[in-house]
Every structure is written in structure tokens, then in C-alpha cells.
């Protein structure tokens, strides 16, 4: 068993990992930047070490500082949380060179799954359904039209070297594809100095559904059910729920098996996520694998009654999984609301300042994960997540009612937060009926 774990992160996830350490009887070492000296993870940990100034590059992303802190604290393992260095293969490698266990997958697995093309190839080879697309770049309009004829419209043309929406064209007809293909090529050449484009089937009104997986070092892999993360805004998840009401139990079971297969194909070790897009007909496509614990792992914990972070630490210790697939069953429904320091009435503009008063919600089926408290000053340098509110109910109706109740109870004075957005969401017929897709927020939310 580990004696001492350094948590190379901040905010709620650092507090979360400290809690898991405490329950396992492992000492925790917090690291912090100068602006985080009053953060809860610093006071909750058994030891806290200042590793640098506010900007993350000089502290939470500063590998030498973090390794040095682990060395002076005598930590035998590092938990990276999410974000920062969590999916940095080089960091995982350096930890191992320094004789410190990185609580996450080995560097080669991070590399393999971090490269979208490589990950897609692994999945295709393993028989995991991926979004149909031209393998590699297409140079001729004719090839694009042939692909579209096979896969069916709509299709999307993407710049091979790009990202961020540029050089992307969604096409519904041959005519649009002919035009779009040329435009995309020109844009790709202009913006990315590389006119190569590829064509993929475009999934209309998709759901984002992901599976939590756990894989130990002995080849045992289980999935801990699905999460529906369709409530997003600009690809930022705002609400996650488990299980999804959109897919049938049969689809859920099939996707679970596929997620395990994908995990095995990647020779994955640790806690991770296999993400899928699900189209209107319920057909699912692998999109990517996340090689870390996710913000929304807690929603799975609520329905599965399993502590994902403790499992993750035990896996890193070399233990076999504490549960087999047959031991895992989901009970009830859970939702997680991300309470961010953002003003939903003002296009989710980041807010901040001092939390003048914080009154967390309580009572049955309510869990709060946070690093804030009355008097906490939110540093402007990091992400805007203030707290995660997770509510559980026997059925989805109870979960929604409880969510409203708990959100109304939550008092964060001193700044605008996303609470009004969540309260709005829980009153939307489409959301209540389980009809919301990843486009829902952008199409419907006008601020409240």
C-alpha cells in the first residue's frame, strides 16, 4: 500500500483525492501555487507544499517542482486528478523514472489513446464501431462523393491538420458536398498550410454517452455503467447524468461490452472513460478514450455505490479490482450539476471574486464536492468550477425534484454562478422527457 500520495492538482478534485487517501489510511500531500494558499485542499491535506507562483505553467504544470515536492515529502505516488498533467505521457514517464508511481495509465497508453488517429485504428481493429469516415485524407472530390454515397448524408468535411471548426463543412447533398469540399480545401490550405481534408459521417442531434471503466494491472476490466453528458455548451459539459434514459437497457449492455473491449484493445490500466456519440436511432460510435478520472465520475459513484478514486488508487498499488462485472449494478438515477463561477445571463462570462457566504445543500440524496467556503477568494487563473452538486433519486423524477430543491438551497454569495441555468434546465420539458441532445443548450438557452 502507498504510504503517501502527492496530489498534483487543486480545487475540488484535489479535495476529492485527499478524501480517498484518508479513507484508505494513506497520507496526502497537497501542492499549491501562491494564489491557492487559502484553498481547501491545502488545509485538508496532511502536508502542503507551495510549488510556485500562480500561473499554472510555473506551478501545477511545472513537472520539476512537482517531482521535487514528491521527493521532499517522501511521496511514493502522485495522483494527477484531471486537467493539468493528468494526460501528459511525459509526466507519467518521469514519475516512473523517479521511482514514483503515477496513478494513471503508463505513458505509452496515454500516447496511444491521445492520438485520435491511432486510437481510431485500435478501435476499428478491435471491432469497436467508429464514426464512418475516409481513412486518411482525400484529395479528389470524387472520392468524397463515393464515401457519401456509401455512408449516407449528412457528412462533414474536416481539415486533416486543423481544429476549432475552421475548414469544417457539413453537407446534406451531393451539390453541397461538391462546393463544401472545395471550400474546405481552400480554408485548410489557408489556415493550416495543409489542404488535406477528410470526410466523415455527420451525426445529427447526437447524445454524448460515455462508460466509466476500471482496469487493473492483471488484465481485469469492468465497466461501471454509462453517463449521459449531452448537456453541454461549446463542448463544455454542464450537467451529467447516469444512467442515460435515451438508450435501452439492451443497448446499454451492448455498449458496456464494447467499452470493455475497447479498454482491452488499448491495453488500458486504471480508471478511464470510453466516449461514444449515439445517433437518433440509437446507433453508437466510439469517439475517444479519456485516460484519467473525470469531473463527472461522481455521478457514477452515486448510482453504483463504488468509490472510483479509491479503486483507481488500489489499481495503481497493483491490487486486483475489488469488484467483478457481476458485482456492479446501478440503482436509481443521479445527476451532477457543475456550479461554475460563470454568469449564465451574460453568455457564461467568467465571474469571480470572494465567496461572501457559502451554504451548501444537504439532506437525503445530496452530495457536494467543493474546495470553497465562506470567505474563499476564487483565483482568476484557473478553471471556473466552484462546486459539483450531485443528487440521487430512486427514479429520474425524484432526482429532478431533488436537484431543484438542492439548487435552491445552495447559496453562493458574491458572484454569479451557473445555478440559474441549472434551475432553468430542470424546468424544460425536453430535458425532463429525456429528449435533450448535445445541441440542446445552444438551441434553447437564452439566458435567465
Amino acid at each position: 500500500m502507498f504510504k503517501r500520495i502527492l496530489i498534483a492538482n487543486r480545487g475540488e478534485i484535489a479535495v476529492r483525492v485527499i478524501r480517498a487517501c484518508r479513507e484508505l489510511g494513506i497520507e496526502s500531500v497537497a501542492v499549491y501555487s501562491t494564489v491557492d494558499a487559502n484553498s481547501l485542499h491545502v488545509s485538508e491535506a496532511d502536508t502542503a507544499i507551495c510549488i510556485g507562483p500562480g500561473p499554472a505553467e510555473q506551478s501545477y504544470l511545472n513537472i520539476p517542482s512537482i517531482i521535487a515536492a514528491a521527493e521532499v515529502a517522501g511521496a511514493d505516488a502522485i495522483h494527477p486528478g484531471y486537467g493539468f498533467l493528468a494526460e501528459n505521457a511525459r509526466f507519467s514517464d518521469i514519475c516512473s523514472t523517479c521511482g514514483i508511481t503515477f496513478i494513471g495509465p503508463p505513458p505509452e497508453v496515454i500516447d496511444r489513446l491521445g492520438d485520435k488517429v491511432a486510437a481510431r485504428t485500435i478501435m476499428e481493429d478491435a471491432g469497436v464501431p467508429v464514426i464512418p469516415g475516409t481513412r486518411g485524407a482525400v484529395t479528389k472530390e470524387r472520392q468524397a462523393l463515393t464515401f457519401a454515397a456509401q455512408a449516407g448524408y449528412p457528412v462533414i468535411v474536416k481539415a486533416a491538420g486543423g481544429g476549432g471548426g475552421r475548414g469544417m463543412r457539413i453537407c446534406y447533398t451531393d451539390k453541397e458536398l461538391t462546393q463544401g469540399f472545395q471550400t474546405a480545401q481552400v480554408e485548410a490550405g489557408t489556415y493550416f498550410k495543409n489542404p488535406a481534408v477528410y470526410v466523415e459521417k455527420y451525426i445529427l442531434n447526437p447524445r454524448h454517452i460515455e462508460f466509466q471503466i476500471l482496469a487493473d494491472q492483471h488484465g481485469n476490466v469492468v465497466h461501471v455503467g454509462d453517463r449521459d453528458c449531452s448537456i453541454q455548451r461549446r463542448h463544455q459539459k454542464l450537467v451529467e447524468e447516469a444512467p442515460s434514459t435515451f438508450i435501452t437497457d439492451k443497448t446499454r449492455a451492448a455498449m458496456g461490452k464494447i467499452a470493455v473491449r475497447a479498454t482491452e484493445a488499448a491495453a488500458y490500466v486504471g480508471a478511464g472513460t470510453i466516449e461514444f456519440l449515439v445517433d437518433e436511432a440509437g446507433k453508437y460510435y466510439f469517439i475517444e478514450a479519456n485516460t484519467r478520472v473525470q469531473v463527472e465520475h461522481s455521478v457514477t459513484e452515486a448510482v453504483a455505490g463504488l468509490d472510483i478514486i479509491k479503486e483507481q488508487i488500489r489499481i495503481a498499488e497493483g491490487e486486483t479490482l475489488s469488484v467483478a462485472q457481476r458485482d456492479i449494478s446501478l440503482f436509481g438515477y443521479a445527476m451532477e450539476f457543475r456550479i461554475n463561477a460563470e454568469d449564465p445571463a451574460n453568455d457564461f462570462r467568467p465571474t469571480g471574486g470572494t465567496v461572501e457566504f457559502f451554504n451548501p445543500p444537504g439532506g437525503p440524496g445530496v452530495r457536494v464536492d467543493t474546495h470553497i467556503y465562506s470567505g474563499y477568494r476564487v483565483p482568476s487563473l484557473y478553471d471556473s468550477l466552484l462546486a459539483k452538486l450531485i443528487v440521487w433519486g430512486r427514479d429520474r423524477t425524484e432526482t429532478i425534484a431533488r436537484g431543484k430543491r438542492a439548487l435552491r438551497e445552495t447559496l453562493i454569495e458574491g458572484m454569479a454562478t451557473t445555478i440559474p441555468f441549472h434551475l432553468w434546465l430542470l424546468d424544460q420539458d425536453d430535458f425532463v422527457a429525456g429528449r435533450a441532445t448535445t445541441n440542446f443548450v445552444e438551441q434553447n438557452y437564452k439566458g435567465v
Binding site: 488545509s43 485538508e44 507551495c50 510549488i51 515536492a69 470572494t354 467556503y373 470567505g375
Partner: protein, 153 residues
């Protein structure tokens, strides 16, 4: 009314996290105030959650008064990194500087070992060592005071 002066006051207030600023000048009195006054005065900071005050982890409370006094009188040399503090280049070797020693700008005052590398901590300016506060061989964190010196002009 001097709008610029008010803006200056606001800047001062914001920058220094004050709850109120009042300026009375040539018969003109200006007050700028923000936030929840009671809580701000309370210090905002979390009163030792979990029984651990982060700062107290490195500085012993008994020495706090002495350190505070040194801080007002002298210049602190702080560690630019996390690591292990050494006064000498190798075990048994002479220390780089001892208390009372004078040093030149550019002179190595101590080393901080991090990731098996010895990092020389070099003086920015000339001075005289008043007190070495970090213990030889102890762990230091970013921003921790290693020694106090008196600059020599």
C-alpha cells in the same frame, strides 16, 4: 469632484483587497468601500479547516515573532523552487556563507537540490548574511525564506 482620484482609490481598494478607503484632502473627503464588511474584516481566510493552517506547517509558531522582526529589518532570500536546502556544496565541505559573512552579487549563497540536481542560489546584489533560517538539509518550498541579509550598497 475628482473622478480620477476616485478611480485611483478604487484601484487601491481592489489591488489591496480593502473593504474601505477614505481620503480627506483640502477639505475634500473621499470614501470607497466594497463587499461584506463583517466577513472581510474577519479575514476571509478559512480558520484552520481540518486543524491544519498551511502556513503553520513550515514555520514554527515559537519562532514566528523573531522571523517577523527580521522581516521588517532585513531582506529575505527566498527559495525559487521546492527542494532540499544545503549550505555547503557537499557533505563535510565548507559552507558557502555563514552568518555574518559578506557576499558579492553573483556569489552562490546556498544550493537547493531538486530532482537530484543541485541548483545554485546566487545573490542578486551584494550583502551581509544576518541569519540563516532554513536548516541545513531541510525541505524548503517555493517562496520559503532561506536566509535574511543586509544589502551592502
Amino acid at each position: 469632484m475628482d473622478k480620477k482620484k476616485i478611480d485611483e482609490l478604487i484601484a487601491i481598494l481592489k489591488k489591496n483587497d480593502l473593504s474601505e478607503v477614505t481620503v480627506e484632502e483640502n477639505g475634500v473627503k473621499m470614501t470607497v468601500r466594497q463587499g461584506d464588511i463583517t466577513i472581510v474584516e474577519g479575514g476571509g481566510a478559512l480558520p484552520h479547516v481540518g486543524g491544519h493552517a498551511p502556513v503553520a506547517k513550515t514555520a514554527l509558531s515559537g519562532e514566528a515573532a523573531e522571523l517577523a522582526e527580521l522581516e521588517t529589518k532585513y531582506t529575505a532570500l527566498v527559495s525559487p523552487m521546492v527542494g532540499t536546502f544545503y549550505q555547503a556544496p557537499a557533505p563535510g565541505a565548507d559552507v558557502f556563507v555563514a552568518e555574518g559573512d559578506s557576499f558579492e552579487a553573483g556569489q552562490t549563497l546556498c544550493v537547493v537540490e531538486a530532482m537530484k540536481l543541485m541548483n545554485d542560489i546566487v545573490a542578486d546584489e551584494a550583502g551581509r548574511v544576518v541569519k540563516i533560517v532554513a536548516a541545513d538539509g531541510s525541505s524548503v518550498q517555493f517562496g520559503q525564506t532561506l536566509l535574511f541579509f543586509e544589502p551592502l550598497v
